[in-house]
Amino acid sequence: MTRQTDEEKSAVVQIPIVEYLVLGEDPHLEVNECVACHARFFDRRNACASCEGVAFQRTRLQPEGEVRAFTIVAFAAPGVPVPFVAALIDCDGTSVRANLIDVTPDAEHVHLGMKVRFCTQSLGLDEGGTEAVGFGFKPLA
């Protein structure tokens, strides 16, 4: 990653790590929600796995949630920086998979039931100067 001036930064084109991350002024996660039964999916469905409905709407997820499960991964595939905290976050009834960031990755600092908030983080620039943006959840102070 190269260092940039403020002018250059403002011109940087951003791309989200996954399509369900929506960037812009107010970054958030967006799911495909079944219009009939409100089941939520992070990728596309031809029919709802819950009720077989075929109509879906884009729905924005709540930014705050609670850690329902976590693990501290110490041993991972080559290229994955360890240790990191992988978690299941309950965002107002919707389960979200994400890393916990801005937290020391040990059992003294991560707790079940911990309140967390959605945030984004840069994954760096590619050769064309496009910045990839990832997301995670950080503890509510």
Binding site: A39, R40, V67, R68, A74, G79
Partner: protein
């Protein structure tokens, strides 16, 4: 014995562990010839063959096995169903016999996993210099490690932690003590890949893989095979006294997948499909979980064993921690669980696991388990789960000859 009931006639497993000089076909053949001999039959008696080897699912292991030990022209079903592959093979043979298409079937599972290292995870398209959306999520970079974990130790760690969040009472030490039990049990099982007793301290201070699972709390990658011959009741009646007296009744054979529930596509829900399978199995067999003399359940990680006490109804809902603390699941407890050493110590050669656990239960019901025999065992349950998901539950019963 009812004519439409199905029985295990012969069953065998290889020793689990490192078999550098034996290939898949050698291992499958050893288990199969052992099962045929155990049942007093040959390939000529078998009407259907179901076989699986998950990491070689396109290899046609069933036909390779026939070429190695006997080609009789019978239908072969090569099956793959994640860690439930062995149970699925058994159930295919069971269904063929139950349907009346044939009166004897053979199920085989085999895997070579020694030195396989960490399984799954790392679904990483190559970083090729530009952020380009790829795949179903339009991901511009590998997701594993950036959006949670795909590694099995990490996934099952969260499954155990989620139970702790819902009901309380779990801790790193509690999960480690479950592992301590299974490693202790394995010291009596000569077929186990590992027969070493670990102290709690050793388990907790071993290499951390994914908190709270340290290395001995993870299933052991190893080589192995297991095979079973199933027979219909009508045919069994025509066989010798010796064969009839050692036959073990399959009182229930159930396979489920997971129904949709919130969150099931985010963190695999191994609970509901296991609960559903168990409930169906108890109904089929007409027994209660409290009647079980031993249980072999899918302890792919120590964190998984805990939740399955609850899922299989061995304890009251939410009561798995207290149930374990009571000592119930040790081999001298009220409901011995994984007296074989379980996947953590006996080992987990994936496709073999779902038949090897049937072998363990059947061997106790026959009173042939040597110095690890659960005295007077009459009723046992074998459970496997494969992510995706598939759950197999079989209930076995000793019959009066």
């Amino acid at each position: 014995m009812a004519t439409d009931d199905i029985y295990i006639l012969g069953i065998d497993m290889t020793k689990f562990g490192k078999h550098p000089d034996l290939d898949l076909v050698d291992l499958a053949s050893a288990a199969t010839m052992g099962a045929l001999a155990d049942g007093g039959v040959t390939m000529r008696d078998i009407g259907v063959l179901a076989a699986g080897s998950l990491l070689n699912a396109n290899a046609g292991i069933g036909q390779q096995l026939q070429k190695q030990i006997g080609q009789t022209g019978i239908p072969v079903y090569n099956v793959a169903n994640a860690c439930a592959t062995g149970a699925t093979a058994l159930r295919v043979a069971y269904m063929a016999v139950k349907s009346g298409e044939c009166d004897m079937g053979l199920a085989v599972g085999v895997e070579k996993l020694s030195g396989a290292g960490l399984l799954s995870g790392g679904s990483r398209p190559s970083d090729d210099g530009t952020w380009t959306p790829k795949g179903r999520y339009g991901a511009v970079a590998p997701i594993d490690g950036r959006i949670g974990t795909e590694t099995m130790p990490g996934v099952f760690a969260q499954i155990g932690m989620e139970y702790g969040h819902r009901y309380g009472g779990t801790s790193f030490e509690l999960f480690a003590r479950i592992s301590e039990k299974n490693h202790s049990h394995s010291t009596l099982n000569p077929k186990a890949a590992y027969q070493k007793r670990f102290t709690l301290d050793e388990i907790m201070h071993d290499v951390m893989i994914a908190y709270p699972n340290t290395r001995p709390m993870c299933s052991a990658n190893c080589d192995g095979a297991a095979a079973a011959v199933v027979v219909g009741g009508a045919k069994l009646k025509t066989l010798s006294m010796q064969q009839r007296s050692r036959a073990v009744k399959i009182s229930a054979s159930v396979l489920t997948s997971d129904p949709w529930e919130e969150g099931c596509q985010v963190l695999p829900n191994v609970n509901t499909l296991t609960r559903n399978a168990a409930q169906q199995a108890y109904e089929q067999a007409g027994v209660d979980p409290q009647d079980l003399d031993l249980v072999e359940l899918h302890d792919c990680f120590a964190t998984a064993e805990l939740v399955h006490y609850d899922n299989l109804g061995l304890c009251s809902e939410g009561g798995a921690v207290d149930f374990f603390e009571s000592g119930a699941t040790w081999r001298d407890g009220a409901t011995p669980v994984n007296v074989s050493g379980g996947l953590e110590s006996k080992g987990h050669p994936i496709a073999a696991t779902g038949i090897a656990n049937i072998w363990e239960v059947a061997t106790h019901l026959r009173g042939e388990a040597g110095n690890r025999q659960i005295e007077g065992a009459r009723l046992g349950l074998a459970h496997v789960i494969g992510l995706g998901s598939a759950c197999g539950v079989h209930i076995l019963e000793r019959i009066a000859a």
